[in-house]
């Protein structure tokens, strides 16, 4: 089936390639939810592909105001107005000549301009102009028939509430229903789009985040765990930290393409271990990204320099990249998708998120956090990216607790960092809890971080140190 490519970032992906041509679609949502911008973005993108659109306003926003508001968007172009994007006033005809003349006017406009797309905005607003529901129903049916015969893809825009989507007559004839809505989360006012119905194509279900930026509409598809079995080629190689004793404990490093959790209390050195893993990769020519939600890039650089690591060289040569996103600004819906984009674009082989605890703190819905992490883990594993997640353990002297949430299912390897008390001294201890599919040393080893780097010391030999 031929599709209308909307050109909206990631939206065609959600739709399995685009909106089926000649379909009748309803774009619903409360005032201010972004319906008009969404449709305008589609018609201007389509205009650039040579398609013609007829945009009929009714009795909501005036054409003048609409065009004025659109001028701030990159998709808007004066040059397309009048030629590929034609505005008309259906509301005037309905008010002055009556509802009987609406289809006649529409047919005349179609004959005159031969559009590929017709938009009626707002469609809901014209309901009140019809004497009764029966007459409106007949109009909706005739409208759908006329527009499909003229090979037109239709968007009817309306301020419909979600509960109306199953009740009103126009939704019965709709091939597609796009519902836009906003939601307040902890720190963000978020916008979501949900495809309620789309005949003739499969689509990604559920709510997808979108934002309105100067570019126009940008959609961030919902990260969701895949139901089907994950299949990927298992690589036999090992990826080390470049810390000889630790790599030896891991049987020459971590298995290639696996996900490792480094869990520990504050100051235990999670960031440093993870950074060392990337630097070791960079030494071998492997590209790495360090995504920090904890420390700004400058602070990470200072730490690495203090430890005598050649981080500047690797940054300059493009083998290492450090991205800092403030946890205050962290929006997992958006960033989880951007993370994967970044990994794909830069052909990254080693990747660190420091820390996933910041993810956890930024979402109001814990299940959503688990879904994201699971989906992200699946994607990273499929792409065989050697990944380290760090996680903060709130009790640095606790027994070997990994994380508050049960994320160990998606983790292949777990390294625990913790503090122990010994003779009025605080010591740091490292242990490997799990390495999927390979042998690892079960010892608890002391370690220290000095200006010379990370040193793994002897085995912890006194049980009373673990309290």
């Amino acid at each position: 089936m031929d599709k209308l490519i909307t050109g909206i970032k990631n939206f065609d992906y959600i739709l399995g390639g685009g909106i089926p041509v000649y379909s009748l679609n309803i774009v619903s949502g409360a005032p201010g939810s972004g319906k008009t911008i969404f449709v305008q973005n589609i018609i201007f993108n389509s205009a650039r592909s040579g398609l013609k659109s007829l945009y009929l306003t009714t009795i909501s926003e005036s054409q003048f105001k609409m065009v004025r508001h659109l001028q701030g968007f990159e998709f808007f172009s004066d040059d397309l107005l009048g030629d590929k994007v034609i505005y008309g006033d259906l509301g005037f005809v309905l008010r002055k000549q009556g509802t009987d003349k609406a289809l006649e006017y529409l047919t005349e406009m179609i004959k005159k301009h031969l559009p590929n797309i017709v938009v009626i905005d707002s469609f809901k607003a014209i309901r009140d102009l019809f004497p009764d529901e029966k007459t409106f129903k007949a109009f909706v049916f005739d409208l759908a028939a006329v527009l499909s015969i003229w090979e037109i893809t239709v968007f009817l825009v309306g301020e419909y509430e979600e509960q109306e989507l199953t009740l009103l007559s126009e939704f019965a004839i709709a091939d597609g229903i796009f519902h836009l809505y906003g939601q307040e989360e902890k720190r963000f006012q978020k916008r979501f789009i949900r495809i309620r119905k789309m005949r003739g194509t499969s689509f990604e279900q559920g709510e997808h985040l979108f934002q309105i930026s100067p570019v126009g509409i940008e959609v961030y598809p919902r990260m969701r765990p895949e139901g089907k079995e994950l299949r990927y080629e298992v690589k036999q190689g090992r990826k080390g930290f470049g810390i000889p004793d630790l790599d030896e404990m891991l049987s020459d490093g971590l298995s290639e393409g696996t996900i490792t959790l480094i869990s520990g209390g504050t100051g235990a050195g999670k960031t440093i271990f993870a950074l060392k893993f990337l630097l070791e990769g960079a030494e071998k020519g492997e590209k790495g990204i360090f995504l920090s939600f904890e420390e700004p890039a400058a602070q990470i650089l200072n730490t690495a320099r203090h430890l005598g690591w050649e981080i500047d060289r690797h940054l300059a040569e493009g083998r290492l990249d450090i991205k800092f996103i403030s946890p205050v600004e962290l929006d997992v819906d958006k960033h989880a998708f951007e993370i994967l984009d970044m990994i794909r674009e830069k052909k990254v082989e080693r990747f660190v998120i420091d820390s996933i605890s910041s993810f956890e703190n930024s979402v109001s819905d814990l299940q959503k956090y688990k879904d994201y992490l699971w989906a992200l883990g699946q994607q990273l594993r499929r792409r065989q990216i050697n990944t380290i997640f760090t996680a903060v353990n709130d009790d640095p002297f606790s027994s070997l607790i990994v994380s508050k949430t049960q994320i160990s299912l998606i983790i292949d390897n777990i390294i625990i960092l913790r503090y122990v008390e010994d003779n009025s001294h605080i010591k740091k201890v490292l242990g490997i809890m799990k390495t999927r599919g390979s042998y690892h040393n079960k010892d608890l080893r002391e370690y220290e971080i000095t200006p010379n780097g990370i040193s793994i010391l002897g085995k912890l030999d006194r049980a009373d140190m673990l309290r």
Partner: protein, 122 residues
Amino acid sequence: MSEFKKERIEHYETLLKEIWTASAKYLGMVSVNLLIERVVWEVSLEYKEIELLQYDQNGISCARIAAGLEENPDLPVQDMFKKFITRYVAILAKLLGHERAEEIKNKLKEEVAGVSFSCREE
């Protein structure tokens, strides 16, 4: 009107009735009539006489075209009907997909042989 032209009109009327019935099966009568209305409008830009084509819920008739031919015997009915049918089937192919349109096209045999299923923008 010559006997030959009369026969041609009768022949095209039979074809149009076949098309009407075949496409009503897929589109429904309302849409078929809307499609005819569209094609009449398009062809009328070249042959005004096509507006004499009668169609409603009961079917399609060329009686008024045949009557009109008495006044305008030089009307190239063959070209007018060929354009009508070609355009009709082309739009149908876009709406229903080529497989369904091919079935209808096959019913029209040699009359529409070589029809190019192009849409208006191509």
